[in-house]
Symmetry: C2
Subunit: 131 residues, 2 copies
DNA sequence: GTAGAACCTGACATCAATGTCAGCTGCAAG
DNA sequence: CTTGCAGCTGACATTGATGTCAGGTTCTAC
């Protein structure tokens, strides 16, 4: 699969795919002409990378983590070093905290939205009253 | 309260507090000498700002959102404009997606950590066997 | 009143992922 | 063979929150 196809199928820009490779997150073979060629499994991997980035896992950690993931698509895996498990544990705690935080924020937004809708409804009632 | 105290009590740097003010997120009165003076309620507000930032709410949105929040500390509030409610709804959906994502990532990390611990335990058993 | 800590503004630096541009090359269809 | 799209590298720009430094002022304790 060529880079443009991979980009389209994952929704990730071509630029980012090359960046992932530079960071050692995503491998590719090259054609005779030097163009990147990706296996089918790259799609899943790219999606995972995106998820990890969204979760705030830095690429440095991600680079060591990825080989340890038992890919659903059967890619062989490695085992985490002590340093990595320690880092991941910290990372997990961070994520737990982040989830809690997001829930709070979500609730707050909901409240504001709800109040606004209530106010809008009251407004509508007032209008129909005046009519 | 002076800026250094507020920083200490919220765990946010002095630099950031000044930045919040510049973005219209945090008000302060000034002493005769021009130094910032914060009310007690600023502590809660700063913490909320941090939560929002962590949740990815951009400061531009936050600036309009904050006056609409019914502060626990009794600060008077405003009502959301239609534009704001729309934005917040989108924001909320984004947060929902983010939470889902974080859960997936968390599970993945757990799996890797678990595998590593299993491997470490196996290693330990092997060592005691050899002894 | 003086020393030193805390504060002020303004400017520039940083980080990480991504966008964008330039100049060149590979590849497929006519 | 040419035309044009897609890919390549390398460099610089961007974004947003924050760090940091410089040069000056205010406040507090002695």
């Amino acid at each position: 699969m060529r880079i443009g196809d991979l980009a389209q199928r994952t929704g990730v820009s071509v630029r980012s795919l090359r960046y992932y490779e530079q960071q050692g997150l995503l491998a590719s073979t090259r054609t005779a002409g030097g163009q990147r060629d990706y296996p089918e499994a790259a799609v899943d991997r790219v999606i995972r990378i995106q998820e990890m980035f969204a979760a705030g896992v830095p690429s440095r950690v991600l680079a060591e983590l990825l080989p340890c993931i038992h890919d659903a698509d059967g890619t062989p895996n490695a085992t985490a070093t002590p340093w990595l498990t320690e880092t991941l544990t910290a990372e997990r705690d961070r994520i737990d905290a982040a989830i809690k935080d997001l829930r709070r924020t979500r609730a707050l937004l909901d409240e504001v939205i709800g109040t606004a809708q209530g106010a809008a409804a009251a407004e509508a009632r007032a209008r129909s009253q005046r009519r």
